[in-house]
Symmetry: C2
Subunit: 349 residues, 2 copies
């Protein structure tokens, strides 16, 4: 049947005949997969916007719609577990569209032999996270695969939220003159997973920053901040998020290393493992692009929230012939920030 | 963290300490999982309706929202593949809510080493199925798991559709006096998978009935048929769908074996393998509960469609103290139809 559809796969088979872990890592290989296979096949404006979710018109209302699968290992880690991650991750993707999250779906893929008690713990964690975020899980599905054909539990959540403003919050809306705001310290989620996975006893325990972000975003909107773009810093970290936006808006994003907060225990754990914290995944951090004139007021609003107390302007957007990210290091040197080919830490979410 | 949440898992660990394949089979064990773990944890009216999707109010509009994960093996089978299944399955769940399907999400979980060319074929099949069903795939996610921790490819699709009528299409709306309509022959999807999986050369090739069903449903609605309930006959087959509805509406559903069409090649394949076609999964068949007075007109409408040409009334709904399904066999004997504990054929969708 499929023979008549399309000539052949556009990713050179000689380069990548098989899927690699890096194809799921939020870096260059994942982007190649998206650009060569997914986007051209399902070509439409919502998908092409390359945002965290799709913004859609349903009758008279505007909604956001998003999905993510969660395959994190281990299932439980300091500061969270696959259940809270599956709720907060999707809540945050809706928030990044400027939507108020309302309804979630859950699709479970369970491996035969998975302990019932562990499923119960995961579901209870989802329940608590959904209550905390004020969303309802309204529809679901459960599949079981044979032993050795899965890995304990995978969870997909999709979510829908209501958009009550008429801004176009999207990478394409970023313009020269915008300030770039970061909502707090970076690198904790990835390093919490690493410590749990490798059973590495770092000097101080590192907890994931996993948390819902929609209240901060909705408050910015309520206070009429003219948000141009939002991005939560999951796979690919701060660097991945910035590079992706720079490439879409075709601007030069300049950020100042000295303004980016990294906790001491995260910095030393990264040094120990040879990881760059700029690329480490977060699950409760986002960047906001707002007009320079709104920057101070935005910071004041974000700092009212426990999870936004360290919000700060980390840089700005400038005209450029091509999209790129420049980091002004603490030594005063400008360094171009590139995307990694994959994620430093596979199965981080 | 999870210690303070809930005392303990309500499924007796002594009975089922671990997830079995049957917990994903659409039968009794899956219902136990839903009733003991999922429904009480996320208690809300949309989820509790136990329908194929959730019916929700978003601002001024009514929408349907649904999700399904697809783990079928083999990936390609006569009449379809995991890609067309992932589109049509979710389109059909929206149709069963009486919604016009509009937007789909796709979450891919790929196993490291999965051939890029096969991914391309699956995506092209999804593209074609989405075009045929008139839906747009607007948002997505890709995860990669290590070799041996997945099984080639799992696909989750979630979907949203617009509801333009004010009927309450749901198992709870079924009442005595309703006619039960079946949209065609049964058992083909399951037996097509079996033939592909076991490489059994049945005398005649059996093709899956995989197809979108929304056009038939929307036409019934357009013609003002007062639909009480719809159900597509996937996992658990015709028997599973009927028993689930009977238990929710607390009525006796009587169906007539002689009116249920099973193709000769499906019947002999089932006999050969010792399977009951009433429990075999379909991917392009549904049952509709309509008032007796609307039955003939409904049949006339459905028969205008290629895929509805064999639509027929197979029975009716009667008062009862408890929900049950009675099959009048071709010998004239009444037999109570029960739900299986699992699916006869694991990983059928």
């Amino acid at each position: 049947m499929d023979k008549k559809i399309e000539p052949s796969c556009p990713i050179p088979i000689t380069d990548y005949p098989h899927i690699l872990l890096a194809h799921g890592g939020g870096g260059k290989l994942m982007h190649q997969l998206l650009e060569k296979i997914i986007l051209p096949s399902f070509d439409n404006p919502a998908l092409n916007s390359r945002h965290d979710g799709a913004v859609l018109k349903m009758g008279q209302v505007r909604i956001a719609f998003t999905t993510d699968s969660y395959v994190v290992q281990p299932l439980f880690f300091p500061g969270g577990d696959i259940g809270s991650l599956a709720i907060n991750g999707t809540v945050n993707d809706l928030a990044m569209c400027g939507a108020g999250p309302l309804y979630l779906s859950a699709g479970f893929i369970l491996e035969e032999g998975f302990p019932m008690e562990t499923l119960w713990r995961v579901v209870q964690s989802m329940k608590k996270a959904a209550q905390d975020a004020g969303v309802s899980l309204v529809t679901g599905d459960t599949k079981v695969v044979d032993r050795g054909k899965g890995d304990q539990i995978f969870i997909n959540t999709a979510g829908i939220g209501l958009i009550k403003h008429d801004l176009n919050i999207s990478p394409a809306s970023v313009v020269p003159g915008d300030a770039i705001i970061l909502s707090g310290d970076i690198g904790r989620h990835g390093m919490a997973i690493m410590s749990a996975r490798e059973n590495i006893g770092f000097e101080s325990a590192i907890e994931s920053d996993c948390a819902p972000l929609h209240e901060m975003v909705l408050k910015l909107l309520e206070e009429k901040i003219k948000i141009h773009c939002l991005r939560d810093l999951t796979r690919g970290g701060l660097a991945g998020g910035l590079v992706e936006i720079a490439e879409t808006c075709n601007c030069r994003l300049e950020i100042d290393e000295s303004r980016i907060k990294i906790r001491e225990e995260v910095r030393s754990a990264c040094e120990l493992l040879g990881l760059d914290p700029f690329y480490v995944a977060n699950e409760g951090r986002f960047i906001a692009f707002v007009p320079e004139a709104d920057a101070t007021r935005s910071i004041d609003i974000l700092r009212q929230f426990d999870n936004g107390r360290e919000s700060t302007v980390i840089g700005g957007v400038h005209e450029s012939d091509a999209g790129l990210v420049v980091l002004k290091t603490i030594m005063g040197v400008g360094r171009i920030v590139d995307m990694m080919s994959g994620e430093q830490l596979p199965r981080i979410c």
